[in-house]
Symmetry: C2
Subunit: 412 residues, 2 copies
């Protein structure tokens, strides 16, 4: 049942005198000299990381090789991947992996998984050297030609890959830099942004102008490590639903508000999170999240975007977006904008209570505790499209401009 | 358990002497005169459909209005949306809606839903006239300001919208032409294609060159009715997984094979299916599907792409792609390419048997019955990425070029 909140006021939308700021000049109009310099910079940075990755793989393998030649038992120490081994500090802004390690020593019992780990690292080295990549599934099937070291099941190869990922994450190298890419799609991007993407073979930089896609958008590739950016936008707007993204894109909200729109399509994929993080870091852009006002939107979509998730803390340093702030829809918005609501169901209530009780993020942020308490007391949730009650484009003409005048008041 | 098929042959990949054909000149290099002509054509065609849509809405409403003024009971006749009211002919190539109608007459009991239907049609007219659009959810929330005609629950407004969609589909007007768009993302596109997309406000045509997205791609908008195309590609390759799409895109397979790559990401969304259909129709391009060899890939992903689905036959005329053919992975490929497999589980077997017994598509196509029988006898399934056993780029260098030499042998 849609428990529409009754108010004593007449059904008139709240209005603001605010107008969205005028758009500046089009992005990405660098002079040829500057452009060349940027291209060279992009290439140098990418090469630097590749060299670092290959060096680390070689160093790890050499140590093992040396120990075997010295008739010692080699071992590999992997960080423990679990919520037990996680900490959260507001200063770094994301879940961090602790110091617990699990040691895998080469013995008769471990010889197969030890060999598989080394083969997987060898595959990674080969991928970097040939400027290629593999998905988890590709890697599993590749192993079918590794004879005795082949994996019988994909969960086995996934687990070895996760260990390698955790091992190298300590050195600041992500799985994508090891050239293991996710199988999932990235999100969609539109707005005042030029993406610089070097050709896999020639290294020539393709400049992708995200203002030029009509009603369509730029689809983020599975791996974004090689990308660089040029933009004069003032902020990134990360949007939960495809419907709202399409509305803002078709109405060129990015032009009037001078921003970059990114569609999360629910809980954002690795590629989408990494894209937002890189773009925000490199271009010093604030990130505002615009999601449904319900425990899922807040504690799953937004929390995951901002600080990462507990059981994958070794990823947080690359994938979370600590600079993200919560634009809305807030519990207070439901009242202020007299939004149509749905009652919270049991799973919503459980999720909210869990967050308040167990989640280090919510425990660290008083304003979120208050907001979540308010939501629980109100006993309702609201979707971002509920703003359509006041007109399909109310979100563009009133809600967002008004919100964007008070960014300091956004939830952390 | 991965039941890896054992063969007596040595583990060497099957090879072909075939090389992919050379790419032609870059697409979309029309002369200025030609380009202007195309722009005018695009605009004229879009206006024609909009005029037709508004005329039909007005005609329907006028009839109702006239009957009320004449003190008669007006009614609306909606086609019945169910599998009972569906037929399949190989000639049209998709599930077609039958002639059964349900009549909604204006009475005391139906007055609310009758009014809601007319309001929804009114919203559609307004959207066409302002060149705007709404998702199902937007429309539901819009109704919250329709006073007595407001919907209490979204399923109610969805159902009214589906009826209107079915009503107008008889006249060849789709829901997207009524400006009700899906909330879901479209798929990703890369390759030898220029998409022409008129600006919502100025009508100016944006030309989007899908060869220029680097490792990223063009993300299909929620509605594609307004798009036109320029291409010199020879075919469309529709790909199930994001991983294989990314590989073909990053290695510019579209250049060597002179084609357009489209990522389905599982069962394709409405926008993706409509995009493929429109592109294939307007540019006379064959469509080849490249999906996993399992009952889900065949009877859900491929069958839905090609002929539509039973309970939404009123959509098939717009959304299915009757010209699609099945490139692979076929059950025979599992043997020919000695692919690693997984055993069929109960749900796979049930799905395959259901398709053979009840699905008009499989009942009409002998080659599919044989292929499905073969799969059931083999008792295994294979993923498209299983080709990575022979090397990550075996799919590009051997499998696809070889297959594309024998398109006549593709399953229907």
């Amino acid at each position: 049942m849609a428990a529409r909140k009754k108010t004593s006021k007449a059904a008139k939308p709240p209005r603001s005198e605010a107008k969205p700021s005028e758009g500046g000049p089009p992005p990405g109009k660098a002079k040829p000299g500057e452009a060349r310099q940027t291209d060279a910079l992009v290439k140098r940075r990418n090469q630097k990381f590749d060299t670092l990755t290959v060096d680390l793989i070689r160093k790890t393998a050499s140590t093992v090789h040396g120990e075997i030649r010295g008739r010692k038992k080699p071992d590999l120490a992997f960080p423990v991947r679990s919520l037990r081994n996680v900490s959260y500090s507001q200063k770094t802004g994301y879940f961090e992996m602790g110091r617990q390690k699990k040691i895998r020593t080469l013995t008769v019992n471990t010889v197969k998984s030890f060999a598989q780990t080394l083969r997987m690292m060898g595959l990674s080295k080969q991928l970097v050297e040939t400027n290629d990549f593999a998905t988890k599934r590709d890697a599993y099937y590749q192993s079918k030609n590794w004879e005795e070291a082949r994996f019988d099941e994909q969960p086995e190869s996934d687990s070895v890959m996760d260990d390698i990922e955790a091992l190298f994450s300590v050195q600041g190298i992500s799985r994508e830099q090891l050239r293991f890419i996710p199988d999932e799609h990235g999100g969609a991007v539109a707005g005042r942004l030029v993406v610089l993407d070097p050709d896999r073979e020639t290294g020539e930089i393709e400049r992708i102008d995200c203002t030029r896609f009509g009603s369509g958008a730029y689809s983020i590739p599975s791996s974004v490590e090689q990308l660089s950016f040029e933009t004069d936008a003032k902020f990134i707007l990360a949007i939960e639903t495809g419907g709202v993204f399409q509305r803002l894109q078709s109405h060129k909200f990015w032009q009037t508000a001078n921003c970059i729109l990114i569609s999360l399509a629910g809980v954002p994929t690795r590629a989408t999170r990494r894209f937002i993080r890189k773009l925000s870091d490199e271009c010093k852009l604030p990130v505002y999240a615009f999601v449904d006002c319900d425990p899922y939107g807040i504690s799953n979509i937004y929390r995951t975007l901002k600080v990462g998730s507990g059981n994958a803390a070794h990823l947080s340093q690359f994938f979370c977006v600590p600079q993200a702030r919560y634009l809305g829809v807030t519990p207070q918005d439901i009242l202020d904008y007299q939004l149509p609501t749905h009652p919270l169901v049991d799973v919503d209530i459980k999720r909210a209570r869990d967050a308040l009780k167990n989640d280090p993020f919510f425990k660290a942020h008083k304003p979120w505790q208050k907001a979540m308490d308010q939501l629980l007391k109100m006993g309702v949730r609201a979707e971002q499209q509920a703003l359509a009650k006041w007109g399909l484009n109310y979100v563009i003409e009133e809600y967002l401009p008004r919100k964007l005048e008070q960014t300091a008041g956004f939830l952390p």
